[in-house]
Amino acid sequence: MTKLPVTAFFKNYFKDFKNYDEVLKSDMSINPKWEKLLTNFSDLGIDELNKRQDDLDWLLSENGVTYNVYNDPKGLNRPWNLNLIPFVINADEWKTVEKGLQQRAKLLDLVLKDIYGKQELVKNGIVPSEIIFAHRGFLRPCHQIQYKIAQHLLIYSADLARGPDGRMWVVNDRAEAPSGMGYALENRFSIQQVVPDFFKEINVKQPFGFFKDLNDLLVNSATQNKENPTIVILTPGPHNETYFEHAYLSSFLGYPLVKGNDLVVREDKVWIKTLKGLIQVDVIYRRVDDAYTDPLELKGDSYLGVTGLLNVVRQKNVVVMNPIGSGVLENPGLIPFMNSVCKYFLEEELILPQIASWWCGQEKELEFVLENIKKLVVKPIDNTHREHIYFCEFLTDDEIEALKKEILAKPFRYVAQEKISFSTAPNLTKKHLEPRKVMCRTFAVAKENSYSIMPGGLVRVAAEKEELKLSSQKGGTSKDFWVTNDLKSSLKKRKRYHWHHSVSNSFAGIENLPSNTAENLFWSGRYLARTLVTARYVRMVLNQMSDAEFNKRESDQESLHILYQSITHLTSIFPGFTGKNKENAFKNPLKEIATVLFDKTQIGSLAHALFSFKNSYYSLRNLWSRDMWRVYDMLQKEWECFDKDDHENIPKVTKLLDSIITKLIAFIGLIEESILVEQGLLLYFIGLQMEFATMTIDKTRALLSISHHEDIEYEILESLLNSHESLNIYRYSFRSYLDIQNVIQLILLDKSYARSLKYQLNRISKDIFKLPKRTETNELTNVQKHILKACEIIENTSASALAKVDENKIKRADLDSLLASISDAIHETSMSLTDMYFNHSKEQKQLINQNHTY
């Protein structure tokens, strides 16, 4: 093992890029605040460090830590990156930062109250009106809403970076729905797990107290001051860039994760739809942006919000955190006026410095900006996302002219800021350390008339050495953020992240399962079953094709044609092997089979079922265990990496299907042991069995409704049993030549065989009767009626009756019509289940009117 002194790591540190650094001073000495960490670090040696970084990457990917980039060609769920070396701030310095953050949060809270209340700042000329009125985050419908809670700004986040004067500066304010605290927490857990050695003799403050404060805030802000308020986390859904975090906080805090359509407004209150019915919601911790929270009063085309929510807030029947409309604080237009605002409200100076900023709505400032534009960074007052920021030094002359024109058209919409070189910190790369620009996201939650600050936070690191813009979206990495003090103390006993939690239990139980979760579980079951049955069926046909090639019997050709057609019936991808298309498809069956397997756009294809499953799967990510992630991830990778050129290659496709089937089975097994019935496993089972039953019916109808010549019939029966994985059982049960009556008995009518239709139907029925009922009466629900009908039909028939062939010796009409009516009954069961348990409401529609016709 190569063990090097600390300084060795910094040998060529400033080789390519020299900057103001957190660790290495200009005289090449090391900042003493970092010394202990770096000693612990170098003690591990470079090889071990690299190994640990690999472990860390692996752990994060295992834990499914991801973030999304909208419209990203790489698809959803990019892995989250965390660099092994933490970022360190000493507790003494942190004390000032903490005070500064508390002051700024307090101030912005007053600004927020003023903007939607008296508007003194504007009326007294302290803040120019356009900075508020022209900001798209200023939501007029929120004007004069009254709240019961003392503070309005409940969660606040600030991006800080160290300026050339050595102080931490405020770069951005985040107040709408600040993200990052979940990632910060996961970063800490991961670093503790992978490199406990780093903590040797260092006292690092833990963030758990902060999360307790967040939890207390959620509980205490309930308007009714209930003991067990119902708290939900509102997410826009799996496509949101920080969906991982929403799911993560949902698991960590123990509150259900819901989407807009899980909630409904009735009688001026907000309710969550659950299996049992509606339960009133007291607090919504929302991660949906302001404008999207209520399609009635805000953005009309939003499907992410809850219709009528704002009016419930107005009636003080629910608390939304942060209040709707707080996005107006994410406003660089305020920066030049913050000092005056601070004096106005608090009679104090700002503790944390801000970047020098010029609001273009003032004549002199505008002039200055236009003259010095090349040296400045220009941003709109209401869109501080990276893509809307102009780093003017990198713009061409034409781009500068275009920007100037834009500014001149609406000067009040722009702010220009001084370009500042923020500090760098060491980042571990393969061989050595490199300086990278860092930005620290810090977090505050309201607590007893002040704010509780998370010790540390989320540190984001630029992707490239000289990168100015910092963004997780652009592929940068992150760091754990340490606030350390000099007190000698060994690593304290690791606190577990538990606190007395009377709330989470109140929402457990199948009855309280949010309808949307229930629906996703139901469909997960259905898509999984469909995937498995389709894969097995096509694999069986491919095997038959190889056999036929080998045997070259005539009967094989005919039975193959029947099998091909049955694929079309099973998947409903028409015309496929039927109709006019028939002859063509028979000539080149592999082409059609490839469509059935790989064409995602065809509903019924294996690819489509997998894709649909993926959607339900991501929506449920807070339920899945780590092993499930791993198995699913392997399955997904294998499927996506399969070469397009091999789509018609029988051995390769068969091998792929074998492997997919194995993983599906492993996955199905894991679900059953990883999720509790109360968490909704029941719904998953109902979906799974329903799809199995439906597909058993479809297969049987496709293969057995028409009677064939003895040789062919034999082939068909064997294929059916094969695709059903039932050949061995058949041999065990009957020890006979394949016989239609026996096959029907086994596949459809056997009471105790788990793959028989009768067994499946009885199982569905049993599970359906375990679902919560809405009323106390003994009257059957529609769901129960429909499934009982299916069970009854199958109960009152016999193998001999079903095997009967009509006079023309062609059709088994009884079998066909009986299976058709069972299939209908299953469909009705599914529809009424959806109506009763999932759709407490119907689709939302904007009532558009053209009222003025004069």
Binding site: H143, V265, L296, E297, G308, N311, K845, H852
Partner: protein, 307 residues
């Protein structure tokens, strides 16, 4: 002049909807020259929740929900409004109003007073009138020059819209952009009002949208039919040191006693008479009728009885 006003809106749904949340902005405002004497809002079926509040612009908004299956929704606003234009600041008599030039207006808008701060927000982009194009500006520039009176220029703008635009109720929807209306030169009252507002904002003048009603008169010798009036819209320009001045480009006139105001906003989006989100599938048909009639005052009625 006292008017009795009935504004009835009904929706019929092909398939029953399971519930709906709505808001209605149909209550006439009170201000100097217009007084609301009586007002009732009838909703059928009976709403589950109902609450009135005052919005950012001072309009009265009724929030209501109907939380049961329904196939038909009817909203009837009945009011009695006393209109007395003579009590308002007389536009035509005021020198400030008639003579303030564009350049003077711009200068006065820079002074910070609560009235100016309030007026200036009507200079900014709004939901339906944003990113005002150069075409709009060019159209406005024909009438607006630095040293010309704002009143005169606005009056001319109104007349140009009245004569150059064709009233066509089949052309536009509430979402038709201002640029398209200007390009095609056709639309309905709210389009004309919004084109004018865009023009005024493009030359740096605060302009707001006014939603209300207009009394129509039957052709000479015929009796007035019930429900032939209409909900209506026009615009208002802010002249510093004087105040807001209304113009009706659909009828080429300065609104007086035949115009009744229900709401102000930045554009139609802020003040739709009725708006809602319904839960259900299928189509709906809407019908609106407005009836405005002068009410004989009590004295007159008594005299009639005595005769």
């Amino acid at each position: 002049m006292i008017f009795s006003l009935i504004h009835k809106t009904s929706y019929k749904y092909n398939n029953a909807i399971s519930y709906c949340h709505n808001l209605a902005i149909v209550k006439p405002r009170s201000f100097k020259g217009q007084e609301l004497l009586d007002y009732q809002l009838e909703i059928e079926p009976k709403p589950t929740t109902f609450k009135e509040n005052i919005d950012f612009f001072g309009n009265s908004v009724a929030h209501f929900s109907i939380e049961k299956q329904l196939k038909e929704l009817t909203v009837i606003a009945t009011s009695k409004v006393k209109r007395c234009y003579e009590e308002q600041n007389d536009v035509l008599q005021s020198k400030v109003c008639k003579e303030t030039t564009l350049a003077e207006a711009h200068a006065k808008l820079k002074i910070i007073t609560p009235t100016i701060i309030d007026a200036k927000q009507f200079l900014l982009d709004s939901m339906f009138i944003k990113n005002i194009s150069s075409q709009v500006h060019e159209y406005a520039a024909v009438s607006f020059q630095k040293n010309r009176s704002v009143f005169e220029a606005t009056n001319e703008l109104m007349k140009r819209i009245f004569s150059e635009f064709k009233f066509d109720s089949g052309f536009s929807t509430i979402a038709t952009p201002v640029d398209e209306v200007l390009e095609e030169k056709k639309g309905v009252c709210q389009d004309f009002a919004q084109v004018a507002i865009a023009c005024l904002r493009s030359v740096g003048l605060p302009a707001r949208y006014v939603s209300g009603y207009i009394e129509t008169l039957p052709p000479p010798g015929k009796e007035k039919l019930v429900g032939t009036d209409a909900s209506h819209a026009w615009f208002s320009v802010f002249i510093p040191n004087f105040g807001w001045v209304d113009f009706d480009p659909t009828n080429d006139q300065i609104p007086k006693n035949q115009h009744i105001t229900t709401a102000y906003g930045r554009d139609y989006y802020d003040v739709p008479p009725l708006k809602g989100v319904v839960y259900g599938s299928g189509k709906s048909t809407m019908s609106v009728s407005v009836d405005i009639r002068p009410v004989k005052n009590d004295n007159q009625q008594q005299q009639q009885q005595q005769q």
